[in-house]
Symmetry: C2
Subunit: 337 residues, 2 copies
């Protein structure tokens, strides 16, 4: 487990990446050969590598054949399945939640970091560092039952829009990755999310958006406690960190939840590096892929020096080990659905 | 979570239930109607209740129809899927492991609780209470990589035999429950183990024995740490408790791993009560079942005063709420395969 709680620290850099902003992109559907499972992927090396791997692990008689039960594929979420700029979607949620809860907390108008959030000054809110971030997370993610929190997330994700694109966040998922998820499942893979984001923040919509059911979502979490309230059992969300599913935490989370080593893993940042290392180190055929954000026109372009989703060591290791590095600009015909 | 670590405390009562010992049983296969999915179940109220529930949640047009994705069924392991007397199988494993590791620990011959275990005096070994139990667990379950531990468990479970029956522990699973697992899966249910036992102790054999894959096993755990050793990534098992999946921990573990509330839950002790309460409290059709050990001739007979697998409060609540209580002696034609 990382010593620094990522679910919190990942919020720290929110307003800093404004330089790389989305401008315009083309989403026009292009004609595809009938039955092409990956119509949004250009005919480049990335696509070839994906198809070749799936073929060799699924074709009867292949020396690299892998039994269906062992076809485990894990996907990071932020920056791998949907956009993460200029800040993680869960950070948008946390700030909106502070505003929504403010009427029940009149003291927040005088109390940082809430006072600055309510004034719209995110930078000042975050001047308080880790302590401020922990306060924001716990004030917005704890204190409800699990069912209440699920309802809050469902309501928010159904209406909240990205400030730059005006789209729902769930419309800013990557069409080529949706096709890849479907393609893998059609070939007997079980697909999991393994994200630094909150497990209970993703589960309410991951099945609808990605086709990934709650029991296949691994993420960071706070503790819960079982209580019987007036005869009704509830799980209460506590203001206490339980697990940080990032960096060296990702293999730990994979082992805890899945109990098998993936044969394929997909990420976009250094936060995914240990998941890819763990995947690559298993016996038999392995597939590791980084999504490299290279498209400032249609999405964002960032890597080594990004405050959100930095890809630095991972990029070097991917090149050294021959992992697939998707060039979003050249490999993907469209970005969003 | 419980304040008392059950994975440890469950070991405390090992030698005390010797009064109720297995004698003989008949396992002769009996003729069944072709296609009967539950041939080892007598034609009693328990069987009727199971079949009626499955029918109403799966029949198209039924007012109680439940979508396949929501057909989650959770099963306790010890005492529900296999025998747990005179002590938990994992306790047999821990003691055998102390003996196997003893040559590497010459100091154990002078050090409790190990010295007493090596002399075969379990009662004296456990005189040290919680501290002794924690020492046994950590000495036998931590200090290896996850892959090494998996190999140790596989080797042990493939050869270790129950001291009274002379059978492999995996041959002391309950045939009617195996049929029930298969029957539920054939009706679109996803079956999970939710056990106070160690998650990494169950996963190596649960798929072969129960048809339940590693990603559908929830249990107690110690912490792990990701490390790169001489270029090879490993997960090291640490002598530190991570999660206790028992009593009030069961709904917590279910929420963490599954993220949906079961519609059916199966247990045999008060350690399962909160899982059954959590299951029963959801909306729509629900099914809760206790296996009541009533067959001293073919297995063991115990409930309220048992040191292992006590069923006291749960028995009262089951009767008050109309949950199914399986009478092993009268409801099951055979116990073991």
């Amino acid at each position: 487990m990382t010593s620094q709680p990522h679910m919190i620290s990942r919020l720290r850099c929110l307003p800093l990446s404004a330089a790389a902003l989305l401008t315009l992109w083309a989403t026009g559907a292009t004609a595809q050969p009938a039955g092409d499972p990956l119509p949004s992927w250009n005919d480049t090396a990335s696509r070839h590598a994906i198809v070749a791997f799936v073929d060799k692990v699924t074709r009867a008689g292949s020396p690299d054949f892998v039994a269906v039960a062992e076809r485990i594929a894990t996907f990071d979420n932020d920056g791998t399945l949907w956009s993460e700029q200029p800040m993680y979607v869960q950070a948008f949620f946390a700030f909106d939640r502070v505003k929504a809860l403010a009427p029940q907390h009149p003291e927040w108008r005088q109390k940082e970091p809430f006072a600055s959030i309510l004034k719209g000054d995110v930078k000042a809110a975050l001047a308080g560092g880790e302590r401020a971030l922990a306060d924001i997370i716990m004030a917005t993610h704890a204190g409800t039952t699990t069912e209440e929190f699920e309802g809050v997330v469902r309501d928010w994700i159904g209406t909240a829009k990205h400030p730059k694109t005006g789209r729902l966040h769930t419309e800013m998922v990557f069409q080529p990755m949706l096709e890849l998820l479907t393609y893998l499942r059609a070939n007997g893979f079980k697909t999991f999310i393994v994200s630094g984001g909150g497990i209970e923040f993703m589960r309410p919509w991951a099945e609808k958006v990605y086709g990934i059911p709650p029991e296949q979502v691994v993420g960071s979490s706070i503790k819960t406690r079982f209580e019987v309230r007036d005869g009704t059992p509830v799980l209460l969300r506590l203001p206490e960190l339980n697990f940080v599913d990032d960096k060296a935490g990702k293999p730990v989370g994979i082992n805890m939840h899945i109990g098998r080593r993936p044969i394929a893993a997909f990420g976009n940042s250094d936060g995914d590096l240990q998941m890819l290392q763990w995947t690559a180190a298993g016996p038999g055929p392995r597939f590791c892929l980084y999504v490299h954000h290279t498209d400032a026109a249609r999405e964002w372009a960032y890597d080594r020096s990004s405050h959100v989703g930095s890809l630095d060591k991972g990029l070097d290791e991917a090149r050294a080990k021959g992992w697939v590095v998707v060039d979003m600009k050249n490999d993907w015909k469209v970005i969003f659905p």
